[in-house]
Symmetry: D2
Subunit: 291 residues, 4 copies
């Protein structure tokens, strides 16, 4: 199938690569043309002259950085309004629930189908087809997108029949990751304050009750204080916590750990840690204990 | 070996059973005599007339409910002062770091060895020898206790050469469990507020990044709101969070998530949930969102 | 002087009344025409056919509900772009710091002067000329606005030479009011839990260390649980706390009490208290204690 | 009247001085004899050889540092058990609610009357008779103590017929002071982050809605960062917040601002501010904003 593809950042490029490996043809667009040029040269994909051109087939993916990029590229540019009727648009970006709600309504009004499919995992997991894909949208559209999503995910989780539900699940997972980081920070500071190396505690935790990828990855980073280069920069962590808080606020759901995390991300950025991995927010607990 | 054993509650009895299965003889004491009588009748163990009588050999275990029970049974009764020189005392109870520090000093002054060996897991795991044992104390004493601890634990984690270090690790783990409960509560409330069943979210979490025993157990309980009968009652959860906070305070280590948990446990007990499992504290997040 | 005036809600009408009493002529505009008609009929002021028409003189006031109303009425309508060069525009509304920054820049680009002059106090204080006016802006503009501001305020506080500084001061004061409400709630719940009537505590507080208008007003409302009719509705309280948090976030300043307040406002609204006075957020503390 | 007096620290000596000025004779005891010697020499008071000797008349005051000092001096020493039947004991110290409950029961069992009368204000206010006295206890005992309490207080607030009620009110007031300090810190940090001097904000606040002694005193200290010499040291602030939290916990009343304050006091002490005035806890907000 020929699939439109917008957004060739690290994650977008990895997903696009999986679709190509799966035998699909791509017509791609990227804000900065270099990435699209490279993919065109290396993999023979067709370059689109505009975002709209990627939306003329049956199915298109987009993987843009944030709400503003989605607004500008798909709405502001007029691309969506010019899309082929019946198109299934699969948006893999982590965007706000509010934007997802608006996009779903716009697609419906334009005779398009909208699937939200944010992912859990980093670009290398995407390149290996090992992401977890959180997908939601109208059932028929989801069914059409699924074979392609299965190329990038070890598992595709269908979490609802409205696209924003996938965004909520993604934000809830990222919130839980941030809570994990803070929990490891506080537990580690408590240990260290009493002469126990945080890594000793983390080995116990990840070798017993907390033997999960999330705890292993972040216990490793925090235990070794390996925060640079950042896998996920501090301001992106703050952004996702803010999106969770806003999604909560829209339905009057307070999230006190998220409130606390927001404050800690701000303090971390204020003291100059903006370029570090978001897991460096765990150092707040150590620092506040004078450790 | 003949091993003294004090405290035959659910967990104590399970641990005692493992020591018997391992071929050891026990001399046991319990505050309410029924449990000791039963073990004497069924398993032929010797009943001690006083706590002191269990402390006359080379090695003794104690598994008492809390700081007060330990103080009364071992210190107030004069048992410790009357113990055989050279005794290795293995305390499996979850007690405060402060009490553990005092006990370590008292043992040393009396020519006794003190090993703290609190455990992770419930009585059925103990009966199956599947606990995680968190052990700390002077190396020689720990070495003598280890073969017996391996009868109850799938793994014995040596976390330090001072007994209180094991108590710190235990409190840090229980704090992390409580943080997990609250995180699941907030994430679930966010999901539900947007029409996603909490169980859908929890399946994604425990099937991907959070595939650990802790998350599986508590996501199950919270997802099904299965809080009675309690595996671990609310006031015990509050107590352990308080012990973590006190251990932090003793070294000027603030633990903001623990502070928040303390407040939520109090509110849960105030609204009448004292008899429920501590995982019911997750319902705070749902209730505060009007769900 | 002939003064333009936009926004005749309760507070706007009270301020307009003071300017009239001070001998000024007004040319007024209001979204719903009834209020403007009434003022025209009763006080002989001139009604403007558009917001732009109020901005053709030397000085104009606006008192609109929120950011969106300011955007729509002054920017979206083209009014500001059509204003007379040299106009001093005095904005008394509580708006976001971000909007105030944008408005200041827009005014400058258009050859207009922008003074932010949010007020502390309720409409009856305005009608009596007893507000506290928090004013900021370029010195010459502020000097021209001051005689008029002194008609509505018992005191005009010049807090800076950039308009947004007045908005920051206003948000900081409203944050401190909200913190006062929460403090009274928690202190009152502690008292009541031990058999002391909250009002007894509040009498001590407001009769000794806390003898200020803020504590007297809110201790009165909370002590008598007199939350309806609302003087300042719950969602407005939430909005102002959110504006404080956003202003903090823009400069990486965490405000943990504001985070906590946001969560409590959300919970209060979720349980159905949206129509009550924002001081009803103090009941959270009583409710969480089972009182 | 001859009045017993135990505890001649700064505050105790000031209160004793007022009683002397009021024409009463004192029989005094102090742990370190120097203070008692001085008072004996300067004012001709009688020195008691033991705490018990001060408790042989109709009325005695005590003003000791904390729970431990009260326990040791009055209970552990056997003084209370040896007191004259019918004695009215007025305890001005800020002690825990739990201790006050126990003391009330002990006095009753011994045929003594117990009045709790903690005070608001510093030693110089005591010397001028300008304290606020928070008094509680059985009515007849309170009536007998009142004339003496009026010598030290500009006002004596009778807050209940059980002594611990006065301790609750005192802890609630100190909690509110600590909340005021944190509120001023956060509001000041928000202002400063946007270019407004905290002192400008504080002038507005204390000149309008927050014109109370508490806000004036602490806005002054924080605005000038005048934290040394300490009027009330950081660890004492932490202690009082902890006592408020414990009093809340005893009745299942969560106090989230107090939890937050506890964490901030710990962090302040951890970074080396233990010798500073407790108002220095406000600097946390500035520091966390990178200011």
């Amino acid at each position: 199938m020929t699939v439109g593809f917008i957004g060739l950042g690290n994650m977008g490029a990895a997903i696009a690569g999986r679709l190509l490996q799966g035998g699909h043809d791509l017509v791609v667009w990227n804000r900065s043309p270099a990435a699209a040029d490279r993919l065109a040269a290396e993999r023979g994909v067709r370059r689109a002259a505009s975002p709209a051109e990627t939306l003329q087939g049956d199915l298109a993916f987009s993987m843009l950085a944030d709400d503003a990029a989605v607004e500008a590229t798909l709405v502001g540019s007029g691309a969506l309004a010019a899309a082929a009727k019946g198109l299934v648009h699969v948006n893999c970006a982590t965007v706000s629930v509010t934007l997802s709600e608006r996009l779903e309504a716009m697609h419906q009004a334009l005779g398009l189908a909208y699937v939200a499919a944010p992912v859990l995992g980093r670009p290398d997991a995407a390149a290996a087809g090992q992401l977890h894909v959180l997908a939601a949208g109208e059932a028929a559209a989801l069914a059409r997108a699924r074979p392609l999503l299965e190329l990038v995910g070890q598992r595709v989780w269908a979490v609802g029949d409205h696209a924003p539900m996938a965004n909520v699940v993604k934000l809830a997972c990222n919130f839980a990751l941030a809570a994990t980081i803070e929990t490891l920070g506080e537990a580690g500071a408590l240990a260290k304050a009493h002469g126990v190396e945080p890594q000793t505690l983390y080995e116990v935790m990840t070798g017993s009750l907390f033997a999960s990828p999330a705890y292993r990855v972040y216990a490793g980073l925090i235990g070794e204080q390996r925060f640079e280069p950042a896998g996920f920069r501090m301001p992106l962590g703050l952004k996702d916590v803010r999106l969770a808080l806003e999604a909560g606020e829209a339905r009057h759901a307070p999230l006190p750990i998220a409130s606390l995390l927001r404050d800690h991300f701000l303090a971390a950025i204020a003291r100059g840690d903006a370029e570090k991995d978001w897991s460096a927010v765990a150092m707040t607990a150590f620092r506040n204990a004078g450790l």
